[in-house]
Each structure stands twice: as structure tokens, then as C-alpha cells.
Symmetry: C2
């Protein structure tokens, strides 16, 4: 095994705002040998999630920060190329808690999973990965959309938002997306089938919400925080539910302006609830079973934005915050066999 | 009936901040005659709630603002002195949606209630009124305290907070109050039986929360908003629940700084939920039955702060925001018969 070279992207200094190319370094090391109970996985794709950026800050979270000199952590999908572990055989396709690198050591643990019945490795990082599970649990457990209700989803052209909105449509709700720019809004309505999409860069968001949500907002799936959260709070319906999925507006700036309109939760008996998909690990099969059925029925589509090669990982990560991507951003690390 | 004089406090101009004595005027008018289907009630007490102050602003809420020249709205308890209505007989003691005045016309509606088995007119405005119902529904429906959990209650010496904390104690939780000043903190622990009480005027609230909530905060009953809400959010436990009952820090200033720490809801999978007691009108009997039993068992105490005479109504209302009261503030309008 030692003749394999492991290309990696390691953290050299903590970024301020967007990741500067000099904050990381591309290095090459010998691929590790699996010890007893371990397997070696060759990554085909790594996923680009907003969480990756949060792990680069020296702040406590649900996972520890990436240390200086450590490989940048990210979800991955890959193929087992060597195994000294009963759980995985050579050739198995597994999703892993990996990193920006070609090879990763895994063991039989919570974060390494074979997804039965799914062969599309790209989809394992989007709809059949934590992204799909996040959309599913956030929308079904917290949003609980009912037929005829109005559901708003921010970052609607993004990986999670595009799926969350479709799940609400399947539940019979009227779904209004919020996205940045006319091309994203076009994709949100034409490809993802939302009933409408508001371009938040186009002007008066409050007026657009009044126009597109005449019966107010029953469910808001919030990926962004910031002024958009405040605007939707101001349009919340009685008994409205807000699923807090992310605060993408603040991951790069580090600023978390509080939602001053949270007092609308009192006036409207609303609920704002955070969730962590990893807490639902034991229910991923439930989510994937539902998502697979909807995809098979032609009611759910997913889209990925593939960056070719680890050299593009930083560009892909920054793209989440500058708003360049549509669908799930992934970096292709090697060819699937 | 026309020989009865109705002393009233009417709104002359909208207050900025605390109510200025010149914002209102004491007037005397002939008491109204009940029409068919109506009854005339002589108020014994009117309740002083933070909501009264919000109704003086020209802002939409769950009830319309009090108009200029109208009597200041407030909850009341009183005795029926004339009736042309099947629902009430002369001598009945009823709680009403009344105003700062001696006499009020009522009809058989949602807001006029006879509370079976309760004869203490003062208690009808506190524990057996919307105050008690607010504490009960907020704590049991949203807080859902479990044995051994840590519950924090702000404005713990106040009408709602003192009851909410006792309800959590009865549920088996460890209850920590937050109040302003050593005398209030003494009452909170010695009279209301909380396990501890933090004096938020004494200094470092974050440090005090770490000391008194070593296992973090499972439930927060929030009466105040502002920096105290942010501090408790920072100490929230996994799966923590925040019952949003009020924003007393902002009712007078008109400012609602958003809770910047709301992102802790994501990190801790927490829930922040507003509620409106009036939506639970149909369940008031459930609340009062439980509260009466707890009081009879000696597990629940309530305390009222009585201001004598309508002339003190403005002083009583301002006292809610300057923090002078312990327990429920009421204004005595006339002697119970």
C-alpha cells in the first residue's frame, strides 16, 4: 500500500472570511496502511458543506475545529481498496467523514456507511447523504408542512434548500423559494418545481413576501439567517414553524446579528427550532427510503455542481458563500471504478 | 342605574417609555345602563399586566391598540350589579376584559368568566386568571420540565415567573430564578421555593449561570428578552426549550435587539416558542384545576401587590418596568361585598 500517494489539503492558518489560497496547502504523503479493524478508502468525491468552513474556526461546535496542519475535514464517498475490517470488503462504496484528500482510513463506526440500493456515488453526497437527510428531517420533523400551507425556503437553489422545498411540495404545500439572482430563481421554479421564487437581490424582500405569501408563512426552512430571517419572521403566520438549518450569512463574517423580529414568535405563537442531522443518524434509512421512492416516482430531482480535482476545493468552498453554486457542490477526487 | 358614577382613566396621548401622568386623565362619567343581553359589573380589582402597556402603543397586536380618549384596557374582576343577560346573575363574581374604571358592561362572551370554586377575588387576577394560565401553559406545554432537569425563569419574583418556577418544581425540576436585587431573590427562594436565584443586577450573569446551572439549562421561561435571553441561550443544553412569554426589556424602550445567541438553537438543537394564553381559553379549566389542587396541597403559593385606588394605576403599571413589584400587581377599585 505504501506506494500510494495521498494528495491532501491541509490547514496552515485560520481563515478570516473567505478562505484565502494561502490559508491551506496542497501536500502529498504516503497513503496510510490500515491497521487491524480498519479499511482504506479511496475517495471519489468530497462534499462541500457550509459546516466545513465553520470547522476552520477555532470555536467549539458539534465537532472539534480542524487543527493547524490537519487535513480539512469534509464528508466523502469512496471505494474500499484495502480492508482489515469485517464491516467492509474491497470494492464496497461507502460514505465517510473524510477530508480534502484522496485516501482515508475508516473503521466500523457511526460515520462510515454503506447505503443499500444506491449506486450513484455523486448522489450519496447530496440527496442520499447528510444533505438529503437534513432536508428531510428539518422539513418533516420541524416544518411539518400541511396541504395548502405556505412554505418558504431560503438558499432555495442550494443543495439542502432545493430538496427541502420539493419535500414540502410532495406534502401538498405551496412552496416559495428565496434565492439570489434570476438564473437561480429560474432553476428553482423550472427544475425544482417550486411555485414561486423571490430574488432577494432584486429589491424589497418584505413586499415580495407579501405578494408571494398572501396567507402569510406557515413554515420557513432557514439556511441563511440575517436580514432574510427577520423579513420572514415579519410575515410569519399564526402557529408558524421555523426550522433553523444554517446561518450562511454569518459563517464567513463571523457576525450573528440577532433576529430582532423574533418577537413575532410571541405575537404569532411561532416556533423556531434548531436541529442537527447527525442526531438522527439512526433514522437515515427512513429518510433515504422516502427520498428514493420520491425520486423513482419522478417527484424529486437533485442536482450537483462538480468541481474537478482537489485543487478546486477552496474555490468550491468559497462558492457556497459567494453564491456561485446551484445544487450540491462536490469536488471530484478520483474516478469511480 | 344612572345615578352611579364611573371613575375612569382614559388615554390622552400615547406614552413614550414609561407612562407620564399627563398621558392619561382621570374622568368621571355616568355608569352605563346594560342593554338586553348585557350585565353591569362593578370592578373590585383590575390587573396590571405588561400587555396593558403594549396596548397603549399604536401597533398591531393580538388586541387592537387603545384609542386616544378610550379607557385604558385591563383585565378585571368584579361583581354583577345589574343583569339583563341569562349568563350572569346579580352578585356573581366574574373576571372580565375590563379597563381602568369602576363599572364595565359585559355580555356572554369569551372574556367574561365565572371561575367555579374560586372565591378569592384577588387570586382571580393572579393564579386563577390569565397570569396563572400563562405560567401553566407556558411551562407545561412548551417547557415540559422533566425530573432532574434544570429550569431557569426570569422575572422570577413577578406574577407569572413566580408561578412558572413553582410549576417546574412540582414537575421535579431544579429551578433557578433570575430577579433584580437581593430582596427579590430572597423572596424567590424563601417564599416561592426556587432552588436558587441569580441577582442580574449583581454582575456577571454568564458566570452566575455557569455556577448555578452546572448541567446547563434545559428549560428557560423567558419574561424579559434582551441580554438575559442571550445569556441563557449561551448556556442552553442539548434539546433545550425556551418558552417566550414576554419581552419586558423592550415594552418601554420599544427596542427589540435580536438575540444574537439564537444560533445556539442550532448548536444545541434547541427550540424557542412563543405562545398566547388566550389561544388556550378552552383549556383554562384544566389549568385552574391543577393550580387549585397544588395550592390546596400547600405546594403552590401566590402573592399579590395591591395598589389602593385607580389613582395609582399608572404608578402600578410603570412599576412593572422599573421592577418595584413582587408577585402580581393589582389595583383595588372598590371593596368586595
Amino acid at each position: 500500500m505504501t506506494d500510494l500517494t495521498n494528495h491532501q489539503i491541509v490547514l496552515r492558518r485560520r481563515p478570516t472570511g473567505l478562505v484565502d489560497p494561502d490559508d491551506v496547502e496542497a501536500i502529498a504523503t504516503p497513503a496510510p496502511e490500515p491497521a487491524e479493524g480498519e479499511a482504506l478508502v479511496r475517495n471519489t468525491y468530497v462534499g462541500i458543506d457550509a459546516a466545513v468552513r465553520t470547522w476552520l474556526d477555532d470555536k467549539p461546535g458539534y465537532l472539534p475545529p480542524v487543527g493547524i496542519g490537519e487535513v480539512v475535514r469534509a464528508a466523502g464517498v469512496g471505494e474500499v481498496v484495502a480492508s482489515r475490517c469485517d464491516a467492509y470488503a474491497v470494492g464496497d462504496v461507502v460514505t465517510t467523514l473524510s477530508a480534502f484528500q484522496e485516501y482515508v482510513i475508516v473503521r466500523d463506526d457511526l460515520f462510515t456507511t454503506v447505503i443499500p440500493g444506491v449506486v450513484d456515488q455523486l448522489a450519496m453526497l447530496s440527496v442520499y447523504g447528510s444533505t438529503g437527510a437534513t432536508a428531510y428531517f428539518g422539513m418533516t420533523d420541524i416544518g411539518k408542512p400541511q396541504p395548502g400551507e405556505t412554505v418558504v425556503v431560503s438558499a432555495a437553489a442550494g443543495a439542502t434548500g432545493s430538496l427541502a422545498g420539493q419535500i414540502a411540495k410532495i406534502a401538498g404545500a405551496r412552496v416559495v423559494g428565496i434565492a439570489g439572482g434570476p438564473e437561480k430563481c429560474r432553476v428553482v421554479t423550472e427544475e425544482f418545481g417550486f411555485d414561486a421564487c423571490i430574488d432577494h437581490k432584486a429589491g424589497d424582500l418584505e413586499a415580495a413576501l407579501r405578494e408571494h405569501c398572501p396567507d402569510r408563512v406557515d413554515v420557513y426552512f432557514d439556511n441563511v439567517g440575517g436580514p432574510i430571517l427577520d423579513a420572514v419572521l415579519g410575515r410569519l403566520n399564526q402557529g408558524g414553524r421555523i426550522a433553523l438549518c444554517g446561518v450562511i450569512s454569518s459563517y464567513v463574517t463571523g457576525e450573528h446579528p440577532g433576529p430582532a423580529n423574533y418577537v413575532q414568535l410571541l405575537a404569532r405563537c411561532g416556533t423556531m427550532q434548531g436541529f442537527n442531522t447527525l442526531n438522527n443518524w439512526g433514522r437515515f434509512e427512513e429518510a433515504f427510503t422516502a427520498l428514493k421512492q420520491w425520486e423513482a416516482e419522478g417527484r424529486l430531482v437533485h442536482r450537483e455542481h462538480v468541481y474537478d480535482g482537489l485543487d478546486h476545493a477552496v474555490e468550491a468552498l468559497n462558492g457556497l458563500f459567494t453564491g456561485t453554486n446551484i445544487g450540491k457542490s462536490v469536488v471530484k477526487v478520483s474516478d469511480p471504478s
